[in-house]
Amino acid sequence: MGNQKIILSLIICLILFGCGNESADENANNNQSIEVENISANKLIDQEPSNKAKDILKKHDEVTGIKAANTSKDMIIAVQIEHNKRFQLQKIKKDLTKELKEHFKNFHVELTIDKKIYLELEKLEEKLDSKSITPSKLGKEIDRITKLSKEKT
């Protein structure tokens, strides 16, 4: 009997916490907080296409964070998707990739929803902002991240 009481109180706690979070989420949605920072202009390595891609992706409601970097040929973008939209993750990825490929026909666009790639690009963006990276290093780094995003096992 003692066990039953403990379990019952646990369930009530779970339900209460769950409902509490839902209302908090709604507030967050109203504020439309998207984690986007444009990379400052740099004459050596032009990041204007990446910033443009961010502006395009910003319009989608399900996107909560965008990180991107590009060389003169390749562009890699990592997006974070709102938690309850993650059931349609593959479809969202397909749609966003298609839209970006239409906008950037001269680039080899790689869009990913992976958390790891997001973190790696975050580090890369910091380096670009502090201008502590050379164009050749940037190319190598983007190649490395693209390869990492394609790893299956």
Partner: protein, 159 residues
């Protein structure tokens, strides 16, 4: 089937069965389910924490972090089984500890411990997969069937 069997029994046995059914301690199915849900969920939470750890501190993506996570979970279960802690958790939670991958690890290690006295080759080596073997066989078979269904649906169903 069960009803036919009952009718064939002698009347005394039928009487006894009715008597026994009244006295039998009822299984608390709902409580068991809730316990399994909570403990199984906790195991999954630990797995998610390990996955996140591998993504943040090692060179693994969301795709590739699954393999080391499974290995780590099985390793932890192995230690817990060896120290006799996992059995206690299993007694409390039932299916909550058997269904996640930790249950598979427990099945392998407990069989190995049990048959240790029969020698390393025929005992440990031969009996290690006594319980876990069917899991692998039917897991592979189920994957095969699902893959066939998916292929048929995609190739000819136009999904």
């Amino acid at each position: 089937m069960a009803n036919n069997k009952k009718k064939n029994l002698p009347p005394q046995a039928q009487e006894y069965q009715a008597f026994q059914k009244q006295r039998e301690v009822k299984r608390p199915i709902l409580i068991n389910c809730i316990k399994a849900f909570l403990v199984g969920g906790t195991v999954c939470l630990i797995g998610q924490v390990i996955t996140t750890f591998y993504i943040y501190f090692f060179n693994f993506t969301e795709q590739t972090a699954g393999n080391p996570t499974v290995a780590t979970l099985i390793f932890i279960t192995m230690l817990l089984t060896g120290f006799g802690i996992y059995d206690r958790i299993g007694q409390f939670a039932g299916a909550g500890t058997a269904v996640p991958v930790t249950g598979f690890g427990n099945a392998v290690i407990s069989a190995a411990i049990e048959h240790r006295t029969e020698g390393y080759i025929l005992g440990v080596g031969g009996s290690m997969f006594k319980v876990a073997g069917p899991v692998i066989v039917y897991g592979v078979f189920a994957a095969f069937v699902v893959a066939i269904i998916k292929t048929v649906l995609i190739q000819w169903g136009g999904l």
